[in-house]
């Protein structure tokens, strides 16, 4: 017998949730409502007595000071009612914690199948509201059909006695678990089955799979266990492991690269090996601080002798594109399991975010699944809840708007952790499984969640993509597990640890078993959310918040005791062996028996044709544009462009100071409202060593050349960490590629060869610049299918591909946080210097974009020219003579002088004639060119000679000074005042686009 408890704020209290919806309904759809009240509903599907129900109502779920509640529908006057609840099987976090609270208070355990389901009822008032309007609020603001069900009631339809009725979204599968044996007598049959089962097997892999299962020796060994044809468990296992997501087939592919201008061609065999692995291994030899790279869930560097840091990056694009909140929270909570599963386990100390979406005010004819505005709201909130509830500071990030991301958005998440250098005297970065170790699954339970998520993200998003892979992360469950596992680590109980992400157990057990060379797992032992899962589903489910841990049998008792102490579920599901086989059973019968080395050999390399046409051959030109006269207005308009303006509203929602480690915050300056170049934290309280972290991405440059996009992105990330006090000799990188499909198809992907060439060039840039700057790639990620097919005006669909994008994250050790510097100018009279040469490099710039141009002269990274200046800057930082440092990034010198002034609420008087420049004798070029390698530094007059002597012979010039009067003044090339703008006006313009958002 289920009971339904409705809870709402007392009538006289403002309902911020309802008010937020009202504001959005007005701003997004122009719908005027007079009042929206939220009712929280708990449907308690458990055999509780009336006194028990009363006890939980008053003892837990009703705050006597502020709330009303009733097991009958609350009488709230409204013109319309919208009810929103989860679909069956969608993770209901508040429902789960409600069960815990009820069990605690009543001292009982709910029975199997008993649960609490949460939902919401919105009571909407307003004169003349129509059903169409209410359905817009329900369907485009409140509910997403992929995960939620919702209903609308008019005043007439609403039955005040029955309310919403009793809705119980319990999963009922009515299915008996079974193993299917799949005939694969021919490639055609296997191809068909691959399609039918959504296995996404590559056609080239099919003969290899068939050959293995037809091999007489394999068949003989299988026959002994009662197996003949491959089982569905086995094929799913192979499919997961061979997916582009897990195996990086594209990056390990063979590229036939042709330059169509010169006619030259070359074979590039394996981008990963040549452009990522080889340079990183070479640098690791030269950089003693590199601790562990290229094999674990995250790379590790040395913070000091006692502590290592680890870093990794991820994307969660496809799920976020369909369910923004769920996709993003799952993404950030998911990436946090990577450091936790690095070495013997790392504590999470920082997160980063990056969102690439269509324009927030898009009004064109294309119909993405979620409007970019709604999508952005959702991903912001997903990262907010995922980060904040994990207790990990979300310290740095950026949003980027571009119409190309309407096809599929990008959600980047980055995670940083720390581990002690040694655990019980043994190196913490090492881990392995041994025969006899137990396979333990910790954390959440397994359901149908995320099945085929990995293979879906390896495909172009289409209307047939299964929606079932969208999940909602549960930071609460994971935080408990995180705390538990770190205690277990410190007691020396963990031999091996890895997360269950893409591919679930198939991936975590499959990979960890390589060390011992075998494993046996009984899939029937895996705890399930509900009955009725087939063994293959248990094996590949991506249900979140799970880690796989290897422990010695003798440690099991202590490990389980600790697990109980932390209220974490841990289950022994098998043991590691040295049999050379992965052996899975269910209900006592073998359902998979695969050689451990099968996946490591014999599969064909993917192949791509890559054709490069240089930009001038593609019709890229410099626009014919005369210098502007009204530079003040131009500068204000540049500052108000969506990719430059203030996005404070996002940063403020993110707890960036939890753990008490914050040194340089994401927002700095006198009013604490201007974005910092980078974040710095001191991850070990009590130590003076810091970690500087920043990210950069410049996809606009890909319209000209993805080489420049990559090179400039790396240079920007480097300057960002140097600006706050990072050390050029200790910078680690994380490359995160998001690319449109590069497989050529004459109709479906006619520019596939060009996009493949762009990828090759981007990887070349990655290699060149990382080697030049000495940046080992501590981690990396690739997401290869950032395309979507969007419905248009007439029932047609349009393929929309994202610009070729690589987000680069840089992490650097700050030897002493006392030397950290912020970007805001400090005292009047301070001297303003520009380091680096401004060139005619407006191609792909924000300035050209403002005028609707792309241009040709894309910025070039001149590492040999830049490095001596970066070293000199490092010495200035060490000497403590830089009062402020700020890089010149997107938008150019004009924009970034304005930002430095805005940060300090001071003025800057500058003479553009003094700016170090080459071939840039125009004010718009000087102000808006995006030449890399440049920084703005302010220095107290007393430090002048010391600073200038450090930059002797380098491109560095004193261009002006900081003024008390908050006015940005620049003298033009003719010696006359070119611009004189009040800093407060510039700041107002910069805050205008998103300043009303909270």
């Amino acid at each position: 017998m289920a009971a339904r408890l409705e809870i709402s704020l007392k009538e006289h209290l403002v309902d911020p949730e309802g008010e937020g919806i009202r504001k959005k309904a007005k701003a997004y759809f122009g719908i005027e409502t007079s009042r929206i009240r939220t009712v929280h509903i708990l449907t308690i599907d458990a055999a509780l007595s009336a006194p028990q129900l009363a006890a939980v109502q008053t003892g837990i779920f009703t705050n006597p000071v502020t709330q009303l509640s009733s097991y009958q529908p609350l009488a709230i006057v409204a013109d319309w009612v919208i009810w929103v609840g989860y679909r069956p099987g969608v993770r209901d976090n508040p429902g789960a914690t409600a069960v815990e609270a009820i069990e605690d208070l009543l001292g009982i355990r709910l029975g199997a199948g008993e649960a609490v389901y949460t939902s919401r009822r919105y009571a909407v008032s307003g004169s003349g509201l129509t059903r169409v309007q209410i359905e817009a609020i329900g369907g485009e603001l409140l509910a997403n059909e992929i995960i939620q069900q919702w209903r609308v009631y008019s005043r007439e339809e609403w039955d005040p006695a029955a309310g919403i009725g009793i809705v119980i979204p319990r999963v009922r599968l009515d299915h008996t678990a079974a193993v299917a044996h799949i005939p694969c007598d021919s490639d055609e049959v296997l191809s068909r089955i691959s399609r039918e089962r959504n296995l996404a097997l590559n056609p080239n892999d099919i003969p290899v799979i068939r050959a293995y299962f037809s091999d007489p020796r394999v068949r003989a060994s299988r026959a002994a266990l009662g197996l003949s044809d491959p089982t569905d468990v086995e094929l799913e296992y192979v499919s997961q492991a061979r997916s582009d997501h897990c195996n990086h087939n594209t990056f390990r592919g063979l590229f036939r690269y042709r330059d169509l201008a010169t006619g030259t061609s070359e074979i590039v065999d394996n981008l990963f090996k040549t452009c990522i692995e080889a340079p990183t291994l070479e640098l690791a030899q030269r950089k003693p601080w590199v601790v562990s790279v290229l094999w674990d869930n995250a790379g590790a560097g040395r913070l000091d002798d006692d502590t290592y840091y680890v870093i990794t990056g991820e994307t969660h694009n496809s799920p976020s594109n369909m369910e923004a909140y769920g996709g993003a929270i799952t993404g950030i909570v998911g990436v946090y399991r990577d450091p936790l599963g690095t070495g013997k386990g790392s504590k999470l100390v920082m997160g980063g975010w990056g969102f690439c979406v269509g324009h927030r005010d898009y009004v064109g004819p294309l119909k993405p699944r979620l409007h970019p505005r709604r999508l952005l709201d959702g991903v912001i909130e997903g990262v907010r809840d995922g980060g904040n509830k994990s207790g990990i500071p979300t310290a740095f990030g950026q949003v980027l708007f571009h119409p190309g991301y309407m096809g599929k958005c990008l959600v980047f998440v980055t995670a940083v952790g720390i581990m002690p250098a040694r655990i019980q005297g043994r190196p913490a970065e090492e881990k392995r499984t041994h025969p006899g170790d137990l396979v333990v699954m910790c954390g959440g339970r397994v359901g149908k969640d995320g099945i085929h998520g990995v293979t879906a993200s390896s495909e172009v998003f289409s209307e047939h993509t299964p929606a079932g892979h969208v999940q909602i992360g549960d930071p609460y469950t994971q935080k408990k597990m995180h705390d538990f596992l770190l205690e277990a680590r410190d007691e020396g109980l963990i031999q091996y640890i890895t997360d269950n992400g893409g591919g679930g157990l198939s991936s975590s057990v499959g990979e960890s078993a390589r060390f011992s060379n075998g494993a046996e797992v009984d899939l029937a032992r895996v705890p399930l959310k509900y009955e009725g899962l087939d063994p293959w589903e248990i094996w590949v489910s991506e249900s979140q918040e799970r880690m796989t841990v290897a422990i010695r049998a003798e440690d099991a008792e202590r490990f389980m005791a600790l697990s109980r102490r932390h209220a974490v579920e841990s289950t022994v599901i098998g043991r590691y062996t040295d049999s050379g086989k992965l052996h899975l059973t269910h209900a006592g019968k073998t359902c998979a028996w695969v050689d451990m080395d099968f996946l490591a050999s014999g599969f064909p390399q993917w192949e791509f044709d890559a054709e490069w046409t240089p930009p001038e051959r593609r019709g890229r030109l410099e626009p014919v544009l005369s210098p502007p006269a009204d530079v003040g207005r131009l500068l204000a308009d540049m500052l108000a462009r969506p990719n430059i303006c203030s996005t404070e509203w996002i940063t403020r929602q993110y707890d960036h100071e939890v753990q008490g480690t914050s040194v340089i915050k994401p927002l700095v300056g006198a009013d604490r409202d201007v974005a910092s170049d980078a974040a710095v934290l001191r991850p070990v309280l009590g130590s003076r060593r810091g970690l500087a972290f920043a990210q950069a991405l410049l996809p606009a440059y890909s319209a000209i050349d993805a080489y420049a996009m990559t090179a400039c992105g790396i240079d920007e990330a480097v300057r960002r960490v140097l600006a706050v006090g990072g050390d050029l000799d200790h910078i680690g990188g994380v490359d995160n590629f998001c690319w449109p499909n590069i497989q050529y198809h004459p109709a479906a992907n006619p520019d596939g060869k060009f996009k493949a060439a762009q990828l090759v060039r981007a990887c070349w840039a990655l290699k060149d610049i990382c080697l030049a700057y000495g940046i080992p790639l501590l981690s990396g990620k690739d997401s290869m299918y950032v395309d979507g097919h969007l419905a248009g005006r007439y029932g047609e669909t349009h393929k929309v591909s994202a610009p070729e994008t690589m987000q680069f994250a840089a992490i650097s050790v700050v030897p002493d946080i006392g030397r950290c510097t912020s970007m805001d100018v400090k005292e009047p009279g301070d001297l303003v210097y520009v380091i680096g040469v401004t060139r005619n490099e407006l191609g792909g710039s924000e300035y050209y974009a403002h005028h609707g141009y792309v241009g040709l002269n894309v910025p070039q990274v001149r590492a040999a020219e830049f490095i001596p200046a970066y070293r000199a800057l490092g010495r200035a930082v060490e000497a403590g003579i830089a009062a402020s440092i700020h890089g010149v990034y997107r938008g150019g010198l004009g924009v970034h002088l304005a930002l430095a002034a805005m940060g300090g609420n001071r003025g800057i008087r500058a003479d553009l004639r003094r700016v170090p420049a080459e071939g840039a004798a125009r004010v718009d070029t000087l102000l808006f060119s995006e030449s890399p390698g440049r920084l703005i530094v302010t220095v107290a007059p007393a430090g002048r000679s010391e600073f200038e002597s450090l930059f002797q012979g380098l491109a560095c010039a004193r261009i002006g000074e900081v003024t008390a009067e908050p006015v940005l003044q620049a003298t033009g090339l003719d010696g006359r005042t070119l611009v004189s703008a009040a800093v407060s006006d510039l700041k107002a313009a910069w805050k205008r686009p998103f300043g009303d958002l909270v």
Partner: protein, 272 residues
């Protein structure tokens, strides 16, 4: 010097344990992170500690009101032991989620020695969202609170979605009259925020950021003193450093007001 032992309660999604313990260590205490379940099952004894800290975080995800389920668990399993702890003259501090738990347990406001009644609530921010920012706080010099002795102003960060203090008018008046209002959100010059956003970041009635019980030994506040455990935590520190450099003063300032606030508690217990 006598050791002052601080129990920092952890587990179930709470998350400020390390920095709270660290800041108390800097304040001269011996701080221990103890899981709620260790206290419940008796592995750790409340009686062995002089200060009990309810920390920030998201206990049970804050899914049914911030601090609500934590309060249920504490009331169910520890109940009168908490009240006895206070009665013995020891200190209880609740920060952010911990403050929310204290008002839901009923340890605050503790009128007339009643440590069970819920009469104060911390509800969703008026701005409608979670917010991380630094606030200026004005200390009520007439408050009996032992933690704020000798402090008149403080800057700390707030990081919460449900920090708006609310109570019936009579309760607010009583809190005010009895000087149980310890901290109020203020402007940079110390004058009242008067409800103005973002100085008052959550719309708290009367700008109230922290309250204590009538003894001054139970104290709850939304801002995070433990997050100001080092001078580099303050958002203005790089600007202050420039002023210090130019006036030739040493760059390493002393104790932060965050540590000082905790030290007041430690010193009080040491003297007790």
């Amino acid at each position: 010097m006598a050791e002052v032992k601080v129990l920092v309660l952890t587990g179930y999604g709470l998350n400020c344990d390390h920095e709270t313990a660290y800041a108390f260590t800097r304040a001269g205490a011996s701080a221990h992170r103890v899981h709620i379940n260790a206290l419940i099952d008796g592995e750790a004894r409340l009686e062995d500690y002089q200060i009990l800290v309810f920390i920030g975080g998201f206990g049970w995800g804050d899914d049914h009101g911030a601090g609500v389920i934590q309060a249920v668990r504490l009331k169910t399993y520890l109940g009168e032991r908490l009240v006895e702890f206070v009665a013995k003259g020891r200190l209880v501090l609740g920060i952010c989620n911990g403050f929310q738990a204290l008002v839901n347990v009923g340890l605050l406001p503790g009128f007339d020695g009643d440590y069970h009644t819920r009469s104060v609530a911390l509800i969703s921010n008026a701005c409608g969202n979670f917010r991380n920012q630094w606030v200026c706080l004005q200390v009520n010099p007439d408050s009996p609170c032992v933690f704020t002795r000798g402090i008149d102003r403080a800057d700390f960060p707030v990081r919460h979605g449900e920090g708006r203090l609310y109570a019936d008018e009579a309760v607010i008046q009583r809190l005010t009259r009895a000087n149980q209002v310890v901290l109020r959100y203020a402007l940079a010059d110390g004058s009242p925020a008067a409800g103005r956003f973002p100085h008052n970041p959550n719309g708290a009635v009367g700008d109230i950021a922290g309250i204590c019980d009538p003894t001054g030994r139970v104290f709850g506040l939304m801002p995070h003193p433990e997050a100001f455990n080092d001078w580099t935590n303050h958002p203005d520190w790089t600007r202050e450093r420039e002023c210090l450099r130019r006036s030739g003063q040493p760059l390493e300032p002393g104790e932060t007001v965050g540590v000082r606030l905790l030290k007041n508690g430690v010193d009080y217990m040491r003297a007790a």
